[in-house]
Symmetry: D2
Subunit: 343 residues, 4 copies
């Protein structure tokens, strides 16, 4: 039984961590912190957890977290990098769900996140927590930087193509659609149901913070420079990401279906669908599963990859627990067996 | 380990049974039948179940079901009453999620369901599966008739009031709102997203089939005749029922909050909320929980009870499994620990 | 051609006024004010209005509004009562869409709105703008207080019953369901799509501000004291109100269908549906129409009235324009001919 | 005043035609046909039209339509091509909203629609009704083939780029998202709210019927062969199309914003948004407007064009009326002034 803490437990990734961890047989939730809601019972804010978790939010202080084996940061960007050094020094392992330790290059961080990095000396040590790619490093890590939701879907879909060098890397396109929970539990006009319901829009077309993260990840698999156009869209649903990926073929000899099936044949949480499939995001709602389908449209020199995940599970809290399981030598799927909610 | 069969596995209560049972440690799913989809893999129709259940739909024949310990009927009304006798004769227990064995009086069945009852001799033996009410009879039953989704919510909300005789029984009102999955997985115009999305309507105001079931249930607790106006509404969401119940006070001495808390204090799946609460149906999405709040509006002689359930779980498949657990002396909550999906 | 101003043009009732008025042949929109967005082009905030209206938001100052013939207040409660005296003094007519002048009794205002009324001397002059009830007074009015969205639906549904004295007035029940736009364009957590989408809840069961307004309105038609239980619900859709009204019969002789048809036979915007109808809120989406159906459930001593309106049109901006048409002797339906958007 | 008929008035494009035409000052709706609903009042099926249109559905027979000046076909594919010859022979003009006369090449029709074309001799005469492209031919036409919803959005977005030859035509990508009303008013499982709500999927990735239509249209503007990958997606909303278009630059000298503004500067229904805009489909809900934004993502050799329309208006019924206005020398915008419904 390990003792876990959650910093920033009032957001959607926080409550999702609680939902998953309260059913995890080897984890005791020791502390859940929230600056704004300190003193409030967790189950008063999240009535779905009544009877499942009986703790109050506490202020996000190191003393409170010091007794934990592992601390999850389900916080806005910029929080973990200010507490990581001290917690690691106390022997606490860290799994960050925010962006603080995803980019290796502190100047990239500063460019995209608008402030100098507060803890650049840990950037090299931190392990990028895309489980299917970095499994062995994650097992040994003290500090895991979980990927963003978009980067998880986009990388899992592009990686087999890049590995086999069958597509042009200079003009990849990722047209990605996300449910509104990806915008977080923030009181902002654009996330109102009357604004985002029954409507659809692209955003950040000129450049989104997940772009450098994806480029860094994909470049790790290739010696060529990657050119990627990444356009995120806000979809009138609560959960789910659908990535539609486009790449121009450089070889027409490749059996893409076989390529993907082989690449992910041992992965419990990446499910390559039969030829001709079009996955619904619903298939994986509430589940840690990623489903992928690969298509060759008629008369086209382009391969199309469809990827679905639940942005709050495989795109955030689920992958974080998957990584925790590796870090503590638990079965990788422990606590993550939930089936997608259909309908 | 018991062997379970599901008749009519292609509907929403069928797939929900599969979702719950595939995580149940004491159940092996032996057969899933569907006349229309016989030969199809279950996980081809329901891709959320890929990797979780590896069976094909089979035709709904007695020989196929004979090897089961228990058979769930997740069928349209009128199916179970035609197979029940034979299956019981083979020693198979039956849990019917349809209406066939809910009403004790076969003439009531004929009035509301439009055909004579095919198996009236089992109506007295069958046990009405509102778990919180009939727990001991369910333990001994061969044939359990699970309540409808509306009757589950309405009865759980009214029962404490009726027991204590604090309200007028002649003019109860149940204004009930249901998500669209309650209409089933049927290709019909009224269930299209373009028809039922972004809109709201009442239906069957002149009389709905769940009315006699509710009246029968409530009458069992009272010697007075019950007068109930029951108006169901179709809500533009997929899962969830919210019952808003109104009853006129005959006594102003009653502490309703205490009454409800006491009534349900030992119930794992009925959660009486603190005073002043307004439960969201989201609180129980995907969960077997029922949440109840009780209110005394200002200057009013009326008590208002708010009840939420997931129509497919506590209102159907979850309660069916809860009853199965009792019938086989499993822990009542086995396989039903899932937390509501938030958001 | 009259000159109209809109105070508080950035909310949903404000943009709805603009949508309606920019197609009104006798109205020129002279000024649209917003404290927070002064200087911004209206069509930048509301891109649906691009090419239709070419003005900027201005600060809400009397000098700017002084040149208008009529000023609409689409503001939070408490704004109009602070500007009304001065504007009326300048000869500007006022149509208030907020609550400031709805209640005749200033102490009721203080009880429900939490501050003393700033302009009690105009409460008697102000005319309650439920058009179908107060048509002749509205024609002569300088100051019209448009009803709230709930009170519009509830009063139009109950009035024929009260007039004919066929129901018990001591225990009326109004179970009312509203789309989320009724909560306004405010950055608040409860209105987020991830919070209010795919879920349903009651709110303010202990007492909602629209209760005294409805009681005042209904009492005007009766010499008996009215007892009303009013429970509003938040529905996962953007527009629309559905009121389900319950009243116990004191006479079984009344032909309710005929009663309603007769009562509203000359009303262009109140449409009594054929017997057995269940109106969808969709029927009136974007339209100024109110649709009503009346039912006598089987074996019940209760009459059930179903009422649908678009909360932003007949429940707010449309009714305001309907009143303006009366005040300026335009055809009552001018600018209000739009058909409900289906689907 | 011209007399119009509508064949197939029970689908969503049919009711949308009725909504628009019942407010058109120069059109009298003479006949609305439906084989399945003949004898039913139009306003019984579509209660939003109560009081607006007082006709019954009639059987789809030539005698009934012969008295019309113009007949709209809002039918499934394959209907108009069987009636066109006879109606034209009677002097009736035809505006087809289905696919029958969109493709010039009858063998292409057979390939994509699965049967030989029933009226190939009219394929050359028919005018493709993308108004902004074929305005003068439409004015003279007897037979107009209105574009599909996807082809309208995709062509309006790509045309300025193709005209100026600034992008590579061999690998265009159109990632297009549509609301569920695009699937029509058909009782099919995939269109149920419980199936299509709160979820998202691509479909027909291997090849969609709108592909040859788009290719034919774009090729008309270029001497090069066009290579296009077209992936449609089903979005959990009712109305709206969002096309996200990608093209690789062959010149970096082009000012795309100026190009688009110039191209559409005289178009009433194509609105080029300011630089940096991300149009919501909501902006044009219920309106005949198309809104376009053009972007150059950072560090990318790709131009991204965002296009929104209402699939039932500019993508179907609205564009049909726009064409009718041209054919009868009415002001092009007559009956089409409606503002998008916000929110």
């Amino acid at each position: 039984m390990i003792k876990a803490g959650i910093v920033g437990g009032t957001g959607y990734t926080g409550v999702e961590l609680l939902r998953i961890l309260c059913g995890h047989p080897h984890v005791e939730i020791r502390a859940v912190t929230s600056r704004s809601d300190a003193g409030v019972k967790v189950s008063d804010l999240y009535p779905n957890l009544r009877g499942k978790i009986d703790v109050q939010f506490k202020p996000p202080e190191v003393e409170i977290l010091a007794g934990c084996d592992v601390v999850f940061f389900a916080t806005p960007n910029g929080t973990c990098m200010r507490m990581a050094r001290e917690l690691l020094g106390l022997g606490v392992k860290i799994i960050d769900l925010a962006a603080d330790f995803r980019l290796h290059d502190p100047s990239e961080w500063e460019t995209w996140y608008g402030e100098p990095h507060a803890c650049p000396e840990l950037l090299q040590e931190s392990v990028y927590g895309l489980t299917e790619v970095n499994r062995s490093a994650i097992r040994e890590a003290r500090l895991v930087a979980c990927p963003g939701c978009y980067p998880t879907a986009v990388q899992l879909g592009f990686l087999p193509l890049i590995e086999v060098k069958a597509v042009s890397l200079s003009s990849l396109i990722a047209d990605v659609k996300s449910g509104i929970s990806g915008a977080g539990r923030k009181a902002q006009l654009t996330s109102l149901m009357a604004e985002s319901g029954e409507s659809l829009k692209a955003y950040s077309v000129s450049g989104h913070r997940h772009l450098p993260e994806i480029l860094q990840g994909l470049s790790g698999f290739s010696n060529e420079k990657i050119g990627l156009t990444f356009v995120p869209h806000l979809i009138p649903m609560i959960r789910g990401i659908h990535a539609t990926l486009y790449a121009r073929l450089t070889s027409t000899e490749v059996d893409f279906q076989a390529l993907f099936e082989k690449h992910y044949r041992n992965e419990l949480f990446v499910d390559v669908l039969p030829p001709g499939s079009h996955p619904d995001t619903r298939n994986v709602k509430g589940s840690n599963r990623c489903q992928i389908a690969v298509h060759r449209p008629r008369q086209s020199d382009t391969v199309v990859v469809l990827v679905v995940i639940d942005n709050l599970v495989k795109g955030a809290a689920g992958q974080a627990v998957q990584n925790m399981n590796l870090m503590y030598q638990f079965e990788e799927s422990t606590g993550l067996e939930q089936v997608g909610l259909y309908p």
